[in-house]
Symmetry: C4
Subunit: 288 residues, 4 copies
């Protein structure tokens, strides 16, 4: 509990920050889901392959139109399957970050498997881009203390998977660039059919209005507006048009600092914020 | 991955295309669902029979008011039960296409059963209309590579079940006229009661606004606006009124080409697009 | 299939009709649900008892303000537990109709139990009101051919549980006054907590707009606008305010005929519509 | 059934009342849910810890800006883990009330465990604040007659967990300050990921409009507007902005009495309302 709550400080007198993050999942979650037995159907695969075919590049076009560099988190298997993705994103000036190998869900993954996927992806990223990535984003936004430690031990500069503040903070000694469900595209738009969906897609314009409300409201608190999209979902025309409107509005605000997650993490480390927002990833013992 | 992404070309300088497709399911999915044991209840049957009684002909009236010919996909059992449907749709100038025999769900159907249903429906269509249908639409929008091959072997000119692009493309050598959940009526409106529904019907006017947003947004990318409706669902007055507004808006745009799916498939085959958007229906081997 | 579709004719040159129906369920569905083992909790009971305490009488006040007589369907156990309800509704000029004894769900009820509940409720209605009810509404809107026959054999003049047309029709020789999920309050508003709900309550004003859209759209087709509400759900202030607006709008339209379901059934029987909309409650044999 | 329905009387000629209640759950429901086996993941914990870190104090700031004192219900384990919360809330003039020890769900709790948690929390509250709390709110809004009796025996002045009226009433001899799902934040906003959510977060501005509609509609009936929020949910910037608008609107209405639940319970006991709204917490015997 922090009764004395310091304000978060952004560079150059900015009131708040915005980051456009892209989880380039493509087939990876499907491969993970069906790792025991692959069905012979292609509906979900075709829907997901729209991402690398078309959606991803509509998103980079969109960002370039608005002069924004994004942070793209790419599962190892996607970078391996589509070897042009990482080099091309780097060439365009975007950040690329880790996102597991097979989009492994934390709750179903051992620490040993997590570390193996992490090291395999790190090696591939360095081979394909010539440099080490700065950060990691957990598939489905879940972590354990041991996984945070594994990131720290490998010199990663940040994690971007948790929701403990609305601005960067430090958890177990690693910088956390927080996310939030309210500004994630998948929970509003993802629809795969076949009986497993629990709600229909939300109208893009309604989501856009809600996201702008989040951005405006967060500005008053110095929050980070961290939007997260997926190429196979938000690369569809109706969502691109929504994002276009959102970006046009936010880039028109001089008090918002657009940056990649890596830039935000680096700012955090060297700013007056460092050391002010420290938390421990304590898991309770249970019986209380 | 297609870093070099060609634009899709539509005939006569049109910017995009629109197709009004109707899945004339009536009782077929109910017969499939209860094929092992038929309950003695009639609630769902009466709701579904509103389709052939009334909804289907409200839809043909609607299309005629707007000067549009639609593509109607009819399960074999529906054509057999209501033998006036196929001839009457042909008489009015609409396209009729295949939609399985009993609305068989792909995930629960063997290749042998798929082929048997396909051939039985083909024979019935030819008997009732005097001509072979041009295309196939999968119930619930799912396919396998083997099912695509079965279509190709029977000389069908297109499939309309997948979502790999927003415009026609070729998959394993057959033309795909793509669909998308965001412009399907069932996921927004279908409600059967009895405890199985997972969300309530969405307000028709909100769906209409969202669909117009999809159309407008897709126009900028040269996309195909492929709307899909069901007579027992969208034949209800509130949805007809919504569709009326949608069609009135889109037919007012000179840059949108209204066509049947068969016409679009034929255009694709003879246009500069042919050969530019080729994909393989590859199912991963699993372990990665 | 009715290629030649006659228009429905309403009395006095009216274009369409409206009926305000109230399912006075109170605790009945809860008693049915827990008939094997009653929990000792009172949350759902208190929420449901708001109906007979307060909600029901807010609804009768509302109807009286708008000069409308409604059709109230009351499970036998509710009439027995609250013996003032049936006489008071009759005194105010409303119709009272049957709704099972314990709100028995059709799918879980034998024909013998259905008939026993029906006869027990019929006897109670006659004892409490001095007259036989004209109609029956099935809990959860489901029927079987045998249940329809049981209504007919007891001289009931109509059933109001099915969705096969948007206006009255005849099914297996009994008049059907149709309902529809899109204008039922429970699917939008019912929320009981405890983890079983599948969606949150919809904003009342949005539901009201959607209902007016249904009414307006249906008017163009001569449809019956049959709204269905529950006192424990729509007796809450926010829903009453919505209903107030809906009724104010519709009563302002001179071309809509407000009537009880019994009056509508009687009109159907003696009007030119009689015999024009006949269907059979055929249950398919399954294998097709 | 109350055919003769008295109006509820509020002090000083006010037409209705409003209460801002806060369920300070933090990790408590998570500890309860995983009491048998605690996972090693931290996603939900971090999301929940945003409450005591930040959300709770944004809410107290919000209330102070609007000159409102709220009623804060705090599980014992939360008060123990964050020992500044109760004293600080008291210092700021808010009411603090009981909310179980570990946010025990009634359906999964024996009477003995309920009483043990109640007494443990009572002792902690008295130790931390120097006074006995006035009221109790059940986690998840459920009660049994025996639990109501336990509150009464311990001299608690009210319960706030049920929905039997829209204004205070008496149930089994204890004053009930009623709640309602329609004005609870969790059902609209709570989203935890991991596959268990059944609907996506609703846009805050839509929820705010719906809540103002509830308040306006209830005013016409003399209802209590009892809003309930959670710091980890509604402490997020977008929800705070919504609440700000709601409070600004309602505090601008001179006919609405803002009070804590304890003040409302005390008013009820000494007002003309006392004895007018008496109900028994009767659980039916089942077979009817």
């Amino acid at each position: 509990m922090t009764l004395d709550r310091p304000s978060y400080v952004w560079p150059g007198g900015k009131r708040s920050a915005a980051c456009f993050s892209v989880d380039v999942d493509a087939e990876a979650p499907y491969l993970w889901q069906h790792r025991a037995a692959m069905p012979d159907t292609i509906g979900a695969l075709e829907q997901r392959r729209f991402g690398p075919r078309e959606g991803l590049w509509r998103l980079t076009d969109l960002l370039e139109r608005h002069g924004i560099r994004g942070s793209f988190y790419v599962p190892g298997v996607v970078a391996e399957t589509y070897p042009d993705i990482l080099p091309e994103l780097c060439r365009r000036g975007h950040e690329v970050g880790l996102h597991g190998w097979l989009h492994e869900l934390v709750a179903d993954t051992t620490q040993a498997d997590f570390v193996r996927a992490l090291d395999r992806a790190l090696a591939l990223f360095e081979a394909q881009t010539g440099q080490a990535p700065a950060g990691f984003r957990s598939p489905a936004w879940e972590m354990t203390p041991a996984m945070l430690a594994a990131l720290r031990e490998r010199g990663l500069r940040y994690d971007s998977s948790l929701m403990g503040y609305e601005h960067p903070y430090e958890i177990d000694g690693i910088t956390e660039i927080p996310v939030h469900w309210s500004v994630d595209d998948a929970i509003y738009f993802k629809f795969l059919g076949g009986g497993a969906d629990k709600w229909p897609p939300v109208a893009p314009l309604h989501v856009g209005e809600a996201w702008l409300h989040e951005w405006r409201s967060g500005s008053a608190y110095g929050s980070l507006f961290m939007v997260t999209v997926h190429p196979w979902i938000s690369g569809r025309a109706g969502r691109i048009a929504m994002l276009d409107h959102v970006l046009e509005t936010i880039t028109g605000d001089a008090a918002t600092w657009w940056a990649t997650a890596a830039e935000i993490a680096d700012w955090h480390a060297r700013s007056p914020n460092a050391g002010r927002f420290l938390v421990a990833a304590t898991v309770p013992t249970g019986a209380a």
